[in-house]
């Protein structure tokens, strides 16, 4: 057990070291993609806490992502706050929104919760373009943010800095999530997922844990959204449609449910596979411009067929196989 823990720690550190070296090796465009991956990682960590560990399905995390993004954008553009301050404030708002949404969610189980959150995802773009909020949201024209440069006179390009800024958040939130999951709280969350009645009879306050878990999960989505607003430099209702929420769900399933490390693989999948699908579809000629969706679907099915427990599960299985057969 300790050997496995040590191995896990080495792998985690190696991944972070690689991520830290990346901005000094890659072009601006790759750094933008890298930042997108990190943003997705944060959102997937949050969703995995909720769905993977606590068993509450959310099809509406794009909504919390949107609240975070718009929150940060409004604080920066309309109220003139610095971007680094806007993100924690916006994500605190998301925590509140998630926590409150957690109450009605208590009454829904399984598919019913999925539908309720689905409605949230569908409603978000419409609410964002609602005219009553135009003074804040900019309506269907959205809000444009100025991309910040590196602070403290650091000799970094804007892209390098934003990537590192995202990495800092990712590392901190990853660390927080691992600690949360490892301790008493994590055991309670998993117990509620697997045996809710047993958990309650053991004295776990299921209602409190579930709503708080919803809040924390929304907070993660909110940080991701806030970072996205800063990195993209633009928010509009079109950025936060249903496909965004669905891609998060795809991400945690591909990465591996109830696996925090899997978030990285999930994020890589949702960032790069649509592009890959588009590139593959070009091979089918010009009339196949609409094919990426189909190819994406096929790739998704292939991945799930080969790795039903996600990338993280597959790696665990592979590691176990190696250990059983080759370990002394």
């Amino acid at each position: 057990m300790t050997e496995r823990n040590a191995l896990g720690r080495v792998v985690t550190l190696a991944v972070f070291a690689g991520a830290l070296a990346f901005p000094f090796l890659a072009s601006g465009y790759r750094l933008y993609q890298g930042a997108q991956v990190l943003i997705d990682v944060i959102a997937l960590l949050g969703l995995n806490l909720l769905t993977g560990f606590n068993g509450q399905i959310s099809l509406g995390h794009g909504a919390f992502f949107a609240i975070g993004a718009y929150g940060a954008a409004i604080l920066v553009v309309k109220l003139g706050l610095p971007y680094w301050l806007a993100i924690p404030i916006a994500s605190a708002v998301c925590f509140g929104a998630g926590f409150l949404f957690g109450f009605p969610a208590l009454r829904f189980g399984g598919l019913y919760l999925a539908l309720a959150t689905f409605a949230l995802a569908v409603a978000t773009p419409q609410l964002l373009s609602y005219n009553g909020f135009n003074a804040f949201t900019g309506g269907s024209q959205g809000l444009t943010l100025t991309r910040p440069g590196a602070p403290f006179g650091l000799l970094l390009s804007g892209d390098q800095w934003l990537y590192l800024f995202c990495l800092l958040w990712t590392a901190a939130l990853y660390w927080a999530a691992t600690n949360l999951v490892r301790g008493r709280v994590g055991r309670a969350l998993i117990a509620i997922r697997d045996q809710p009645i047993a958990a309650e009879s053991m004295g776990v306050n299921a209602a409190l844990y579930k709503t708080t878990c919803f809040g924390v999960s929304a907070l993660y989505a909110g940080v991701a959204g806030g970072l996205s607003a800063i990195v993209v430099g633009f928010v509009s209702p079109e950025s936060f449609g249903l496909p965004l929420s669905l891609s998060f769900l795809v991400g945690i399933v591909v990465g591996g449910l109830a696996s925090l490390g899997g978030a990285l693989f999930g994020a890589l999948f949702i960032e790069f596979v649509p592009n890959l699908a588009a590139q593959l579809s070009v091979n089918f000629g010009e009339s196949a411009m609409a094919l990426p969706g189909a190819i994406y679907g096929v790739l998704l099915i292939l991945v799930m067929a080969v790795m039903p427990t996600g990338v993280a599960g597959a790696m665990r299985a592979a590691l176990g196989f190696v250990r059983r057969n080759f370990a002394a």
Partner: protein
Amino acid sequence: MLTRRSFLQSSAAAAFAASAGSARAANAPGVTDTEIKIGQTMPYSGPASAYGVIGRTETAYFKMINEQGGINGRKINLISLDDGYSPPRTVEQVRRLVEEEQVAFLFNTLGTPPNLAIRPYCNEHKIPQLFVATGAATFSDPKRFFWTMGYQPNYQTEAKIFAKRILKTKPDAKIAALYQNDDFGKDYLIGLKDGLGADHAGMVIKETSYEVSEPTVDSQVVTLQGSGADVFLIAATPKFAAQAVRKAFDIGWKPVRYMTDVSQSVATVMKPAGLEKSKGVITAVYGKDPTDARWKDDTGFKEYSAFVEKYMSSKDLIDINAAYGFGAGTTMVQVLKQCGNDLSRENVMRQAANLKNLELPMLLPGIKINTSPDDYRPISQEGLATFDGESWKQFGELYQA
């Protein structure tokens, strides 16, 4: 004697000679002796995928130009990437086009939000963002965004044209306006008032808005009728436009009706409103309708249909978006021809802002594309058409906004 002027002239001449020899502004990235690489994003997937045909048409059009020998010996290589109409993806794809693919500039990138998202990047890095495919007026603002240029008549332009016609034919008109409460509707109202001018601002006696979420606009129409107006401007999207036309007829209100070109589809507006009830509605047009039989023997239309038959499929022929892409492609080719061998980004921008009386095969006869460093609205003329119960019939002169 060496006057100051002649000194300036001769030194300018010397400078010119020097620059002609070696130091002319460098060609943009993506330009070689045999190729001009340009880029765009298109919603091939996602909610706006119906517009993807524009990108397909343009790709096919440049293929035809290349087979005919290209432009000044260079072939056009258009890299058209899918952004799914999602602004973060647009930014990603545009950065890929500029930084990895090294395109010379962007052409006809589609959609208001995607173009808004990339506009700061393009202007900061001085990359021409040419002929953006959207009707929002904000993309024709050379003072603030030198590197971004619109293409089709924007909503304000169209409303101004209606205002001009109203002033001309009915100077004592009392105008009632129904508008969608968003940027589209508000742009329209701004254009109408601009076109009327401060002296005639009082002509608009009633304006009423609706929200997209409302089931009908019946009560708004009744209110507008109550104002006693005799001109009815409908700045509404198709469903509401149809309701407005029908309701006005049903309550016996007979004003002169002006309809935004957003809602001129016979199938989705005129038929639901009732073909009889829609008779006499006026709209603005700038392109030849590929379904209209009167263009059957028109040279421009023949050119277009020959292209579609050979390079696309015949089902694309009646798609208004294919005709649009064909026109945008033609405009782009003209700019590149004007650039000659100086394909620097500065010169591409200079020539795009220097189109003079350009006529296109699928524009209405008489409509000419004109741009200048102060005017980034390539198509700013439109004609009027009236609905005769079956189709739109163009009438009268062209209007310039």
